[in-house]
Symmetry: C2
Subunit: 301 residues, 2 copies
């Protein structure tokens, strides 16, 4: 029977773990937060006390941590998880990272006789809980074949984008470039609309039906209208992801003007004390700078 | 019977004029291009030899020209059209312009006993021809009431956004800010994807199903994939519209970082000789700068 390990039970990893458990697969999970591990046990999973133990004899190992450095330390650092896996096992690496990092990690896995799927995810916590993530993945056909039951348990859409690591990461970074720019643009446009004296709910209604619409405008502007900046996705995610995009551009000697501007707007927002707030709080940063009053949660509720 | 006049029979104005004529309304049209006027006559319209003659005894006058300066010259310049209109007539002003300009034109109309609808349009030539435009309009209830048969002939969606001129223009400029940024971002993302070695049609498929999508990404990226930059909407439209946005920001002392960056990208594209090409040719400018080869029309056809 397939043994699945998972390292990282945050909001995304937890949803994925519970979906895998609900399909009757054997799963062992590790997280630094004991409450998260307890929740997995309730759902029929197995709790273990280290990353290496989560990987013990695993045929499939999900790594759902923040970035390339964490992924690398967990897999290949001291007491690394990769060497504890079953022979011929597949690592499904979900962190958003630069393509070069994904390629380096895949090479390290291969050196241990393991397969590596470069498999960044998107969709957010609610879709993770429902097993409805989107995976932008690349890796060998054999690795996809072995990983398929787990991928199908956690995602409704699995893009198989190529046979080598780095391609999945590249697609994810192109998506993050656009997503970050669109959030910053939505915040700039809504605060500008406020400055012009427009009724913001009407702006939302008109723009979402017009050529100025974006997935992010539609998703994030309601946070501004509700004055609710509890972090569904924090500013720090985009300082990180647009930071990776910026690094990639410099490495490739490729100018990314509009992504660079959006990164600066997220950095300004983080610098003004909102790093852990929802990413729509770019609008709050602009409103504070310009002396505008946006809807506040207490007033609208 | 209502007499309608129209000044400006470009791709938008022509579609609108033909829709109005097809509803059996009496319409007289003027354009500097005789071929355009002839087409209106074929459809049952009336050809006249000046803007003032198009306005002669008109109850409703559509002005569908490029900008505020043209609109002002036509309406209130030497031999201006406004003073030829029927008593109590309504001007429907469709050019994209700054709110201050719309307010100034409305005041001039009012001084002549006329009403003014600040009524920028969107949707493009195809929707204009089908009578399916979107109008972002403001003006008095009485003006809307008189103009409604004409508005209904040309548009499927008429937003009534407020009782005074300037509000319609403000909504349109917020939409143009977002639209311009999203085109520039789409071009930056697609060329970056090419630099990363990704398959561009697959990028289009994945992004349009992901959080990085925008209306403009979905609409303009096919031009890049087809290598077809025949102008459905030219670069010059966005140097103009983001120029207006930029002027508005300076007047309001309101920073517009991401719109400013997008404007620079359209200016770079215009400066490199593509001002009259499709606005997706921002991607060509980036590709030329960075030595990338995008799909070309001859190769893909």
């Amino acid at each position: 029977m397939t043994q699945v390990g998972i390292i990282g039970l945050g909001s995304m990893g937890m949803g994925m773990a519970l979906c895998v458990a609900s399909k009757g697969m054997r799963i062992a999970g590790f997280d630094l937060n004991p409450a998260a591990v307890a929740k997995l046990v309730e759902a029929g999973g197995h709790a273990v006390s280290s990353a290496a133990k989560a990987a013990q004899n695993a045929n499939i190992l999900l790594v759902v941590v923040v970035n390339a450095a964490q992924t690398e330390a967990i897999l290949f650092g001291e007491n690394g998880a990769a060497s504890a896996m079953a022979e011929g096992g597949v690592i499904i690496s979900c962190a958003t990272m630069a393509p070069d990092d994904a390629r380096r990690l895949a090479a390290a896995a291969q050196a241990l006789g393991l397969s590596y799927l470069d498999a960044p995810i998107s969709g957010g916590a609610a879709k993770a809980a429902a097993g409805q993530l989107t995976v932008m993945a690349s890796g060998t056909a054999a690795a996809f074949e072995k990983a398929r039951p787990v991928l199908n348990a956690m995602a409704t859409t699995v893009y198989e984008l190529g046979s080598s690591a780095g391609i999945g990461a590249s697609f994810k970074m192109v998506n993050q470039l656009l997503a970050g720019v669109h959030i910053a643009a939505a915040c700039e446009a809504m605060t500008f609309a406020k400055k012009l004296g427009l009724d913001l709910p009407t702006v939302f209604k008109v723009i979402t039906a017009s050529a100025g619409n974006s997935w992010m405008f539609e998703n994030r502007v309601p946070h501004i209208l509700d004055g609710d900046y509890s972090p569904q996705s924090a500013v720090s995610i985009f300082t990180k992801d647009l930071g990776i995009v910026s690094d990639m551009g410099r490495r490739e000697k490729f100018p990314l003007q509009i992504a660079a501007t959006a990164l600066q707007m997220f950095l300004m927002t983080a610098a003004s004390g909102k790093e852990q707030d929802d990413d729509a709080s770019v609008a709050c940063m602009i409103a504070e700078m310009t002396g505008l009053e946006l809807p506040s949660k207490s007033r609208v509720r």
